[in-house]
Symmetry: C2
Subunit: 727 residues, 2 copies
Amino acid sequence: MRGKLLAVALWGAASSAAVAGPVESSLTASAAAAQQYAPLFKSEMELARSFVDQMIEAGVVVPVPKDPGGGYTHEQHKRNYKAIYEGGQLYRITGERKYADYVRDMLLAYAKLYPTLAEHPARKDSQSSGRIFWQVLNDAMWMVHAIQGYEAVRGSLSESDRNNIDDNLFRTAAAFLSTGSAETFSKIHNHATWATAGVGMTGYVLGDKELVDIALLGLDKSGQTGFLRQSELLFSPDGYYTEGPYYQRFALKPFVVFAGVIEKNDPARKIFEHRDGILLKALRTTIQLTYDGYFFPFNDAIKDKSLQTDELFHGVAVAYSKTRDPGLLSIAQWQGRTVLTDDGKLVADDLAAGKAKSFPFKSLLLSDGPEGDQGAVAILRQGDSTSGQALVAKNSSQGMGHGHFDKLSWQYYDNGNEIVSDYGAARFLNIEAKDGGRYLPENESWAKQSIAHNTLVVDEKSHFDGDEKLADTIAPRQLYFSDVEGAQISSAVIEGAYPGTSFTRTLALLDVDSLSEPVVIDVVRVRSDKANQYDLPLHYQGHIMRVGFETKSNITARPVLGTDNGYQHIWVDAVGKSQEQNGFVTTLLDDRFYTYRFVPQRGSETILAEIGANDPSFNLRREPIVIQRVNNAQNITFVSMLEAHGRYDGAAEQTVEGDSQIKSLGHESVNGADIVFVETLDGKKTAFAISYDSDPEKKHSVKVGGQMLNWTGFAARIDLPSGKAQQ
Amino acid sequence: MRGKLLAVALWGAASSAAVAGPVESSLTASAAAAQQYAPLFKSEMELARSFVDQMIEAGVVVPVPKDPGGGYTHEQHKRNYKAIYEGGQLYRITGERKYADYVRDMLLAYAKLYPTLAEHPARKDSQSSGRIFWQVLNDAMWMVHAIQGYEAVRGSLSESDRNNIDDNLFRTAAAFLSTGSAETFSKIHNHATWATAGVGMTGYVLGDKELVDIALLGLDKSGQTGFLRQSELLFSPDGYYTEGPYYQRFALKPFVVFAGVIEKNDPARKIFEHRDGILLKALRTTIQLTYDGYFFPFNDAIKDKSLQTDELFHGVAVAYSKTRDPGLLSIAQWQGRTVLTDDGKLVADDLAAGKAKSFPFKSLLLSDGPEGDQGAVAILRQGDSTSGQALVAKNSSQGMGHGHFDKLSWQYYDNGNEIVSDYGAARFLNIEAKDGGRYLPENESWAKQSIAHNTLVVDEKSHFDGDEKLADTIAPRQLYFSDVEGAQISSAVIEGAYPGTSFTRTLALLDVDSLSEPVVIDVVRVRSDKANQYDLPLHYQGHIMRVGFETKSNITARPVLGTDNGYQHIWVDAVGKSQEQNGFVTTLLDDRFYTYRFVPQRGSETILAEIGANDPSFNLRREPIVIQRVNNAQNITFVSMLEAHGRYDGAAEQTVEGDSQIKSLGHESVNGADIVFVETLDGKKTAFAISYDSDPEKKHSVKVGGQMLNWTGFAARIDLPSGKAQQ
């Protein structure tokens, strides 16, 4: 095969040398034309030219499939579909024949190869094999890109070439991806979205209504599966994709690209108005699910994914073209990229015309589930989306196979950093040395487990005992949400994560008098029909500056915390018992200090730990944890607080407020209400009261320490007079 | 005291309210004048105004000394001397009376406090106590700043205020810092430089020749101690300061600032020509000792120190004023800062006039020791100083009390990152929670020890058995240095770090045919009169991707490597034996891969480890190590190589060359020469030959594997024909 391809490459080189004169003048003409393009579009054309010209230089190289993700043939076929797509766009924009010729030669090579392929040699038993790639998903992605490149050049081809490519490549591949991969094609899942988009777009290009119909309505055309049904079931009414932001970003591209094609070919279908405009709503929601441009790493997520990704270049362009929302232009500006379509040209033109406005990042509640009743994600923001605070409560449903057992977990961002963190996926995408770039065994043994998240763990077992099928049937319930600045609140309950045990978590981003930054208050109320061991871990980024309580440290031999469900990956550094106000740990990250403080529980201990045990292949990042552990308790309420404070300036050698500014954190349960008291070093007192009563009009009064506290509704912040003894 | 100070503050507020009209118009006038200043100087004035105005607003607060570094009184007195200095400069530049009044009031408060002070309550036994601060060094820094502020306003004061401040504050403080702290004052050490600068500058301002003389020539005026002698003994002829770059930066400020004052008051002394212009040479050398603007962290060094530090703002301004070297302007540009002196104004003006040129960062050899015969630091660079390669060989002398037992250790930078790293100091500067911001116990138990560095360790003992006094008497000897691009080489030997054992290290930054980046070759030749255990550690930054050899992993209980000399801080993750070509570890840092490869020794084992054992206070950063260990060997040669390769692009999900591009690394010792062979995957072969013969003209020939290798001089790179079997 390689020998044959080399011949094609040489021929290509000779051919372009022979027509050097005309090609050059054509280049000159198009260079002049390029002057008319807005800077963003022009730089996009230059990027594409640079890439495709290099590919043309290297010749058509279509190797026989062999390697898994990250390996040579995998990466080469990825480069190829990118070159086919971009070469097609460049031909459409510039009319330069060399691009059409290159795309044609590439597709002819695939038309020759494709019919000879069977199951991929590097396929994994747990996933459907592709033909060109080790998993069928990549084949679908190949098709989504290649068919768009083909569409741009198809009219310029000879009839025989066209028939050859139509039949041997795209029809054969469409058959494989649809009827040939019926199980994947019929899923309600992002893999199926790529497959239906590829097949449907092929249908439009080949004029094959059958392919369009099965793509839109499923193999049996009943509408129970297929692209339309996916858009109804995969996104919640708020445009949240149940697998989480990382896959939402990934899934979005075939949704918006195929929708754009449907709109063009079949405008009467009003695809962008389908289900109350769900596709554009999903695009905006994807953008909201970020801090400093990076996605919240729910579930299986690679943490270096930001809005600066190909899927979102397409998404923003298509959405802007439909809505002309100037906030999207600022996203394109941040991305510094767009796409080589008419939509991308519009984005570049309007950006150059100064039409951009800030994207309105804000606090919001995103329901999960097709009907919006499968829990929710709550985002509480203060300050800007780049350096301000963002508290994220993940009260959403399991999210299928890529879901983690992390009900009611939370994350926190401040000062441009992830402070309270989520591990994301245990995977080094496309790095051959790490299991071929696939999900690592530690993704199951650590990343998915409950103890790997900022959630409650009962008796060292994961939620639903790690049963994904069961987990998909039971979602948390969002009890309350408030985005009122100064007392932003989310509260949710999960019943069924553990038999006989339910827990309710209330998180607040609370202004406290005399502190410059809001604090996080975290109240986890557990109710059980029996005594259990409870662990409440906090995964954080930063270096420990001070531990408030005495610890017994494992300094000469480091033991492992447990044997299963993720506990086997935890090294125990130290264990201590805290009392009164010494239950805190202060850390430093970059130039800001953070104190995690908690109300000590009777008989509790606090574990300072680090990930990395039972990891012989060094697959895990070594990250720290603090765990509040209570043995043999039945009903219990964990009250914790996270406080950002001070500044460390290494250059100027100045440190300000390196220690916590809090004098005390207290908690009382009165008549079913939880009251949290915060007192600052300078004597300012603030209470946070939770009635757990969803009636927004209902007034509540409790007497604590001889003082009446009054508030209305589910929860509230209450300023207390200074200088009086509280509790 | 506080009550009294509050009264001063209130008075200050009332006074400024009473004269609001005139003050305002004066502000307006100066605002107009400020328009004439170049942007950098203007922004510097605005920074100073913002700081000093806040300080004026807060009133004069001069607390009784109480806290150690990082504590309240420590930080307040630091703020005060900064305000005195900047307030004085602002008065000199703008003529605004409020600044002179504020500086006066502040100094009057100090004149009242100072005579009442005795030893500082937070003094540390091992260091000389100050009066205002816990160590006398900080008092000297206070004086260097305060006397400059005082000089600017002194002429505007009433005679009684002037006499009060002259006598009760500065004369008293100068007496304390000189005769009252004779031991510190008479040292050849940076603490003494600050003290002599403070006392000498006070002498010039008060017109007190005695103070000037003892500052320049020592308490006995013999010239055996004092500022001039310090400039002769503390810097090598190449301007290298024996304590290392971190303290070089720190020491530089009193040197250049006091020199500037000497030049102004006593130009006939030609201080900047003293010892062949050593002070300006030292400034340039300080800048050369950086990568991406950050100092090489030799010895006790805080790693977040860059050129963007107050000392260097002064240094660059003074040096530019003397030399008009346009390369210094680009450093000022990178700093984005300058100083409020005439020199700073010149820098800002010439920068605005577009006179800046790139600073010529380059490969160089910096001799150590007053006579240049106490070893050297070799810097090998390729590419730019921000993202290119820099290999640093620390073949310098011990460097006194802040020195580390790290003879012949090395560091490596690439792609904007530290790759082969040095721990620096175990210290959190000015963070109260960490032992008051002082050096931590782990600075002795870990950071100074040999195993904490990239150097040879014999029998688990540090160099000179950790004896600092002995270490100061024995320096390495630089054998060879070449800055020829493509084969940059440094070679040095240390005899006496271990009894009966010497070792020679040759490091090369070597171009290898078909690799895009140069590789590092590291040859450590050990000669001993008996059998020993040898450890060769590599401290690196990055995440392990692949380990070439089988390992036995400590995955369920993590043991400690040893009991003393730093070994007690090392957790052992895994141990393995390598053979033939499987002796390598591949890591990922940011978007680039690195493979550390070594020629396996007979009976050797390789230890994969991490710092953090015996660290109950979490004082150490958790960083990884690879250790090549050979037991019971006498003469031995370690041959290792570091190769940067490939690219990981998380956004585009592309990985290129994630695995090493090297097929084999080999080594032969022939007739006293060491020959290293490198073969790439595509069959390109390169040899690196070391004769250890310092005669640059001498021709060498050795026969290896039937092939003659010829080169001239100490060491050379030799291209070998491909496709022939080597060794």
